[in-house]
Every structure is written in structure tokens, then in C-alpha cells.
Amino acid sequence: MMNRLQVAALLTKLVRSMRHHGSWCGETHVQKAAYVAQQLAGVPLGFEFILYKHGPFSFDLRDELTSLRADGLLQLEPQPFPYGPKFKMTETARRLQQRFPKTVTRYENALGFVASKLANKQVDDLERLATALYAKSEFTDKDDQQRAAWINQKKPHVTIDEALAALAEVDELKEEFASVIV
């Protein structure tokens, strides 16, 4: 199990990677990317997610992002009206990552993969994809049609067809991740 600073090194790395790939990197983006990194790419961040705001959401992660700001490892960059802020990694975070070379090296490809796949997605796309992954993980005994119905029930603004497409995208991502990341 990783300690808090190792997790901090990976989270800040994820933020850096998301920004590098062009993500807006608001809190929703970080929440969903962390979920996909943990659930699909096997990065052991250790957060507990429930279905809440825009899909899978972790209150622990929300609190930890605040702690990372308090520790000077992340900054919130205000944006012009009417948008919410972006997260930005700091120089202190870069130094922290250097303290954990093995941890960072071990997971940087996985984080990079997640960032490259999610960075350019809009919030509604992220919600659909992350919720589909959540449904796959929670209901291993159900088929995609049943999972899509469940998604539509929980998130009525996601149609059955959109949910099915998101579930298929999860399968593609899993396959691609398995083939790319050794």
C-alpha cells in the first residue's frame, strides 16, 4: 500500500499529464481520470468512489485535492467568466515526484494512457464513460444491455444508446490498455 506522499506524487503527475494532453483539468476531470486510472489502469490510488456528481465521485479524493492545495502541491487557476478553475501542478510537486522515482516510473505509462484518452473529453463524455466503467465494475454478473438500463435509470439524461456506446468504449479502452501497457 502506498503512503500519502506517493499517492500525492501520482495524483500531481496525473494532473500534469492531463494538462499536457490538453485537458481543462477542473475537479470533475481529475475525479473521473483518477477513477479510470484506478479502476481500469490499476493505479493503486486507494480512493473509494460512489455514484454521485457526474458519475463516480470520491469524497476522499475531493478532500485530498484540497490537502494537496494546502500543501502547495496543486494550485487552482481561476478562469475567465463563466468557467470553473483548472488544477495545476506546482514546482513543489515536481520535487515530490523526484523523491519517488520507482513509484512514478512504475505508473507513469498508465497515467499517461488515461490522460491521453480522457484529456479531450467534455464533462458529459467523461460522465458517460466513467459511469459505464462503474457499471462494468459493480455489475459483473449483468450484460451490457442491463448495465445500460441501469445507467439510464441513474442518469436519465444518458440515453440507453449513449450508455451502450460508452460501455463499448470501456471495452475498447481495456483492450487497448492491455495491449499498450505491459
Binding site: M1, M2, R4, L5, Q6, A8, W24, G26, E27, T28, H29, P44, E48, I50, Y52, K53, H54, F59, R62, D63, L65, T66, S67, R69, A70, D71, G72, L73, L76, P78, Q79, P80, F81, P82, Y83, G84, P85, T92, L96, R99, F100, P101, K102, T103, N120, K121, Q122, V123, D124, K154, H157
Partner: protein, 503 residues
């Protein structure tokens, strides 16, 4: 004929009004127990006025919850998008039920509190237990269920639990959008009335004015709104202006007057002056039908632009109350001694989780035992009790400093470990806490009917620090020696060395 409405005088809200159904819960044993639980634990040892109890706080939370409910469900205040996403909000029958349920949840939200509130909660309950779970057990108990069933309309205990505890603590339950919003009214991160009441009440009783803010204005301007947009959100369908510019047109309110000013936000004006092109102004009158919005964004508790300063004042009040009152270092040292005492005094070192046994223990029993133990050297917990009762508390050796954190985010841990090694674990204690919430990012309804992030509209909110404390305390007897030691070794201790980098 029994009186149906009752009033209780209150120093914060003038009157708390309740009906006979609610009074039956106030008169119940689980609720009456809160008369004997200090709201601020041992804080009265530092701020002598802070002797108020959970009882009046819960009454205050109920009063505010009712006020907020009435504001956000008033037909004039319901946003067009929300009307579609939350159908309950326009159904008078459902509104009546949920108003009663919300007020009841607000009343009961703290009935599971342990003696001395939060002071001794974490280490003194079995794993997976906290006061929220105890509250949940009590709300679902046969005694409370009977009271809820006898009400008009009868309330489902399960609904009361959801609203009282919220999705964060009741993560095994499924919440509808409406239930999520109602829970947010009580325990929400930004505008929860639990927080509003405790800031105002604690400020009043402790004599610390930092906790005050204009809660009347704040509540009057609260609204249920679509979440603020993020860049890259879907473009509107059928809105050529937005499609050309790439700007979202989310959240145009149908009831905004046609002569509403095109743009009145001073921040928005500032954004224009800074050379950043804002999204175009959409005339709400041209878009009274909401179908041009591609999909509804998740609702959240937000505010009209006119209440933004009150909202900022709430957040600032919270910051100062945490840094000046709740995290006063001596209060935190007392909490540590109280925990040490309770570990020795309680059977098995933990509080019972059985509902009946839980109800038997209040601050009164603990205070009596503390006094006895402080005078009786052979009594369990004597040393900790003596420290509390005779003001021989541990003293602050080190507190978190931004310069140290820049060198090592775990500087407090490094100093604590080194001090334990140097002086012995028995003479050193650590207390660490970080704010448990996100940035104050909530939707704001501008005067021209758009939805914006609060952090795009208020520099005060953007600049607000996250609260984080890290204290290292030592026995008063070694304070001078420890201070000398720290002065000589601080930098060497906190500078990170090559350590293990394994999972």
C-alpha cells in the same frame, strides 16, 4: 385543544417554530440527551462562554432548513432547467412531505453525537463507526419510527436518514437527484444549514465575532441551479450565437425580465477588460423554451448573483472560525487529554455502539468521572484527567508553517517522529487535520440569466486558503528543552532524505 404550533426563543434565530409532530421528537429521550452534549467539547475551558449544547444547535438547523426549503421551492425561484430535472419541485403534495422530512432530518442530524461532540470520536468507536452512523441507527430505532409513523403525513425513517446524513456518509444508499439536493441543504459543502447555524451560534457564544455573516440575505438568494459550465461543454442545439462562438448557453432562466441588463457582473466586465473574450450574452426572452440545451447539467445548490458577497462572507467566516476557534491549539491539546482519559475510563477503551447504552452516556457522566479521576491517583485515567482539570495541558512545540511544507509536505510528521525518539512517546503528541471539502465552486445565476462558476465571479473565493493544521505538543515539563532542540534541528529534521520508495 392542544396547541399545534410552538415557539422556542433562540439567541440566533429569535424564535424557532415547530409543530406538535416535531415537538414529539424534541421531547423524546434521544433528543433530550443533546441538552447534555457540549456543542464545542472542551472549548469552554478556553472561551468560557462556549457552553452551549447540541440541543439548541439542532433546533436552529431545523429552523434554517425550513427557511431554505421555502426559498428554493418558491415558484418564482425555480429555474426552468430544474423544473424539468426535478419534477417533485412543482408538486404541492410531494413538497409538503419533503418539507416535513427535511426539517425532521435537520432536527435529528446530530442525535448520534458522543459525549463532548467531535473531541473524542475517531479513536473511541469501533472501525466503520462515527456519529453519523450512530445518528442513523437512532433514527431507524423503533422509538423514532413510532414517532415518525404517528405524524401527518407519516415520515419514512429511511428518507429522514438520507437527508440527515447525506451521500458522503450514507454511501451504501442510493440517492435521487432531489434527495441529493435536500441532503445538501443540511450537510452540503457550500451552503449546508448545519454549518450556517454552527458558525453563527459558536461565534455568538464564544464571543468570537469572525463567524458572523449575513445569513438572511444568503438564504434569500439560494437557488437550485444547473452546475456551472466547464470549458468544452456541449454546444447548445439551435443557438446560432453560441455555436458560432463556441460558448455554452447553459442555464438561461425563463423568468428573467426582458429588460434585464446585458451584463452586470463586475467580474465579467473585468474579464472583458483583461482581453479575454467572454461568451456572448444571450437574451433570455429569446430562449424561454429550454429545449436548446443539449442536456441538463446536474443540479446543485447555488446562489443568485446578489447573494455572492454573503456567500463569500460565509466562506471567510468558516476559514476564520476554523483557524481561530475550532483549531485553537490549547483546545486541541485538551481534546488529546480527553481522549487519553476516555481510553482508560471506558470499558474496553471504546464507547458502546448499542443505541440504549449510547443514550446513557452524556458529558455529565464524563465530567463527573473526570473530576473524580483528577482527585484520585489510583483511578483509571488519573493523569489525563488531572491535566484537563488542573490546566496542566501539553504545550505547543511546533505548528505547520508554509516554508516547512514547501520543503516537506509531511514536516509535522517528521518533527513528531523525531521528538518521540528524542523525548519518549509519552511526552509528545500530534494533532493533524485538513479541511474536508472542495474549493467553494458553486453555480451563480447572474442578473442576465446565465450560470457561472462562483470562482469565476469572486476573487475572495479564489484566494481563500484551505484550512490545514499540524500541531506537535509536548509535556510542559520538557517544553524549554524541546524548544531548544527544535531550534537547532528543525531544518535537518524536515529535509527529506532518501527513503523507501516501495508500495
Amino acid at each position: 385543544m392542544p396547541k399545534h404550533l410552538h415557539e422556542i426563543r433562540d439567541p440566533i434565530h429569535v424564535f424557532v417554530r415547530l409543530d406538535t409532530d416535531e415537538r414529539s421528537v424534541v421531547d423524546s429521550a434521544p433528543f433530550q440527551r443533546l441538552r447534555h452534549i457540549h456543542q464545542l467539547a472542551t472549548t469552554f475551558l478556553i472561551y468560557p462562554g462556549a457552553t452551549h449544547k447540541r440541543f439548541e444547535h439542532c433546533l436552529g438547523v431545523m429552523e434554517l432548513a425550513g427557511r431554505v426549503f421555502d426559498v428554493v421551492t418558491h415558484p418564482y425561484n425555480i429555474h426552468e432547467d430544474i423544473r424539468r430535472v426535478i419534477p417533485q419541485i412543482t408538486d404541492p403534495k410531494q413538497l409538503g412531505y419533503w418539507r416535513s422530512c427535511l426539517r425532521m432530518a435537520a432536527l435529528c442530524h446530530d442525535i448520534g453525537h458522543l459525549p463532548f461532540s467531535h473531541a473524542a470520536e475517531k479513536e473511541l468507536l469501533p472501525e466503520e463507526w462515527d456519529h453519523e452512523r450512530l445518528s442513523r441507527e437512532l433514527i431507524l430505532s423503533p422509538e423514532m419510527r413510532n414517532l415518525f409513523n404517528a405524524m401527518t403525513p407519516p415520515l419514512r425513517a429511511e428518507d429522514v436518514v438520507k437527508l440527515a446524513v447525506g451521500p458522503e456518509e450514507a454511501n451504501d444508499l442510493s440517492f435521487s437527484t432531489w434527495e441529493t439536493i435536500l441532503a445538501e441543504i443540511i450537510v452540503g459543502d457550500a451552503f449546508g444549514v448545519d454549518r450556517m447555524d454552527y458558525l453563527l451560534r459558536d461565534s455568538h457564544h464564544a464571543g468570537v465575532p469572525y463567524g458572523r455573516f449575513d445569513h438572511h440575505r444568503l438564504i434569500d438568494t439560494l437557488r437550485i441551479l444547473p452546475s456551472p459550465p466547464a470549458q468544452g461543454d456541449s454546444l447548445s442545439q439551435g443557438d446560432p450565437v453560441a455555436q458560432e462562438s463556441g460558448a455554452p448557453t447553459i442555464g438561461v432562466q425563463g423568468n428573467v425580465p426582458q429588460d434585464a441588463p446585458a451584463q452586470t457582473s463586475s467580474t465579467a466586465v473585468a474579464a472583458n477588460q483583461s482581453g479575454v473574450a467572454p461568451p456572448p450574452v444571450v437574451n433570455p426572452a429569446q430562449h424561454s423554451h429550454p429545449s436548446y440545451i443539449q442536456y441538463p447539467r446536474e443540479p446543485a445548490l447555488g446562489i443568485e448573483e446578489g447573494g455572492l458577497h454573503s456567500a463569500a462572507a460565509l466562506m471567510v467566516a468558516r476559514f476564520f472560525m476554523y483557524s481561530q476557534l475550532y483549531f485553537h491549539p490549547i483546545r486541541r491539546a485538551y481534546d488529546i487529554h480527553l481522549k487519553d482519559f476516555l481510553k482508560d475510563w471506558l470499558s474496553g477503551g471504546q464507547f458502546p455502539t448499542d443505541a440504549n447504552r449510547h443514550l446513557e452516556v452524556t458529558d455529565n457522566e464524563v465530567t463527573s468521572a473526570l473530576l473524580h479521576a483528577s482527585r484520585t491517583p489510583a483511578a483509571p485515567g488519573h493523569d489525563a484527567a488531572r491535566r484537563l482539570m488542573c490546566r496542566d495541558h501539553f504545550r505547543l512545540l511546533y505548528q505547520r508553517h508554509p516554508e516547512d511544507v514547501a520543503i516537506n509536505p509531511e514536516a509535522g510528521e517528521a518533527i513528531f517522529s523525531a521528538a518521540c525518539e528524542e523525548f519518549g512517546e509519552e511526552r509528545v503528541r500530534r494533532d493533524r487535520y485538513s479541511q474536508r471539502s472542495g474549493a467553494p465552486d458553486f453555480p451563480v445565476l447572474t442578473k442576465d440569466g446565465r450560470i457561472a462558476s462562483s470562482l469565476a465571479m469572486s476573487q475572495t473565493l479564489t484566494q481563500l486558503e484551505a484550512v490545514s493544521i499540524d500541531f506537535v505538543f509536548v509535556d510542559k515539563a520538557i517544553l524549554n528543552k524541546a524548544q531548544d532542540w527544535l531550534r537547532e534541528n528543525r531544518l535537518a529534521i524536515i529535509t527529506p532524505t532518501e527513503g523507501p520508495d516501495d508500495e
